[in-house]
Symmetry: C2
Subunit: 339 residues, 2 copies
Amino acid sequence: MKKNLTVAVDAMSGDKGTGVIVEAVRQVLSQRPDATLLLVGDPQEINRHIGDKPLPEGRAQIVEASEVVTMEDTVAIALRNKKKSSMRIAIDQVKSGRAAACVSSGNTSALMAVSKFVLKTVPGIDRPAISTTIPALNGHTHMLDLGANVDCSAEHLFQFAAMGSILAEAIDAKAHPSVGLLNIGSEDIKGNVQVKDAAALLADSNLNYIGFVEGNEIYTERADVVVCDGFVGNVSLKTSEGVAHMVSHYLKEEFMRTPVNKLIGLLAKPVLRSFGNRIDPRRYNGASLLGLKGVVIKSHGGADALAFANAINIALLEIDNDVPSMITERMSQSVSSIA
Amino acid sequence: MKKNLTVAVDAMSGDKGTGVIVEAVRQVLSQRPDATLLLVGDPQEINRHIGDKPLPEGRAQIVEASEVVTMEDTVAIALRNKKKSSMRIAIDQVKSGRAAACVSSGNTSALMAVSKFVLKTVPGIDRPAISTTIPALNGHTHMLDLGANVDCSAEHLFQFAAMGSILAEAIDAKAHPSVGLLNIGSEDIKGNVQVKDAAALLADSNLNYIGFVEGNEIYTERADVVVCDGFVGNVSLKTSEGVAHMVSHYLKEEFMRTPVNKLIGLLAKPVLRSFGNRIDPRRYNGASLLGLKGVVIKSHGGADALAFANAINIALLEIDNDVPSMITERMSQSVSSIA
């Protein structure tokens, strides 16, 4: 059966407007001749940004949506009062099977709640989790949860581990990816009750559980998958952004300090640019809402075209690798093996 | 009354041995002619490292200790079975009043437990917290707790906020330092119950509470003091170390990639060195165990002489600024104002 490589794109959410999303769609369509993208939103606004450079015939379609979920909207408003929002209709495209994935830069809580309501979770998963790929010294790490679930039981952490493992296996084509639990020390006695209990569940499972990992080890790729609750994951991810930003700022300051430094900075420009590209957060934009019956990717609210295109490419990668059906299949196996 | 500027130094703990500690003592004694340091440990080992370059007469004294708390020792062993350890005897010097502070590179859990047992906490403080100074874009931030308390109630977070505020006021000579609660969003609805309840306590207090701060804002000095539970704080701090290490590694790699890049790297060496100094973690070595009746500073286990000297200097800074007595005084005021 031919795979449905259609992604519904919420063209109205995000801080930078519809223009960057149209631009991202243009980039992806030129890179991926097999993909079809649905632009969901106000047709007039979308067409204004398409302007006189039409998108490839048939591979880009506009789907009308008359409302927008704002960053201030509560989950209740997004769910009950905005059934014609670009976010909701983009998710509806996945539900109906017209699209295999959707991507939105909108309000994370609303995106999670509406996705869960419309698409439902995979049997065996209580709560979807947010996962992203994090650069590490020798490759990358998949980390979850990044903020969907502030309080997690050991069972929830275990489910996140199972999903993360499947994601890493599917996307990195790695058999038995290693899974670590984020903790504040490597000894058994460290950590809170949830983490200790999750460790026992993981040690008893068929996952490749390698034990506790500490915050610094996220960036050394000690484990292919790092599992934590959403509070800790969100703080860790945002801390990383803060440090990377400060370090880049310091580096710029040093190269601007004196006229001689400026001259050296000019000479070093290609080296510094290549360094800058490696730590460019846009390259890592796009977090997966895992555990849903369908692919949903959350893009950073401030994403530009390059960053948003990256999020669409992650959606395509998850479709290519059948991530939701792999999660469904494995979770049903593990449920039946427990029963 | 003349201030007692004596610091007891645990000369036996830490991964790098007594040599780096003797070297650190030498550095501090030459920088601070008013300070006296007690080297606590095996006299033979300490004297071997002093060698034929004697330390300033009278300002460096050896205090014998026949045992060492290892990194593997449990809290119970450190407390009950190692009463003659260098760690315990260093803390005893503070208890007896011979020293005003102690510094150790040993096992954090043991140092916290023994300090709490020997020195006791200040009235009004249930649990001591670990605080450190973190570099930020325009200055620095005090952050606590960094791992002493994995599960914290709202009241504990409130006490950490009070102590952090006093520390910032004492050390930075800043009236009404701003205090933020680490959370995963700035809206009131975000976060777990403990954080939300702590926010209510802080909003009602006379602290300069500015609301929630996110992980990235630790590094922008949005708040003078950032408060969180020890699990989150420890992960955040170690994540920062991991990111800084990876970023430095990437930068080095880029300057080594081609012969031309190497040449540019050679030219840029002074600029890169000055950058490296700014993010050198040794400059931030030394975390305060706050809330005890005395100054206790935890140095990183892998500290070298420069890093350990920094930790001793933090001890002297806290003595200079009367941190423990300020905490005692303020906590008694706030208790009586509540009563």
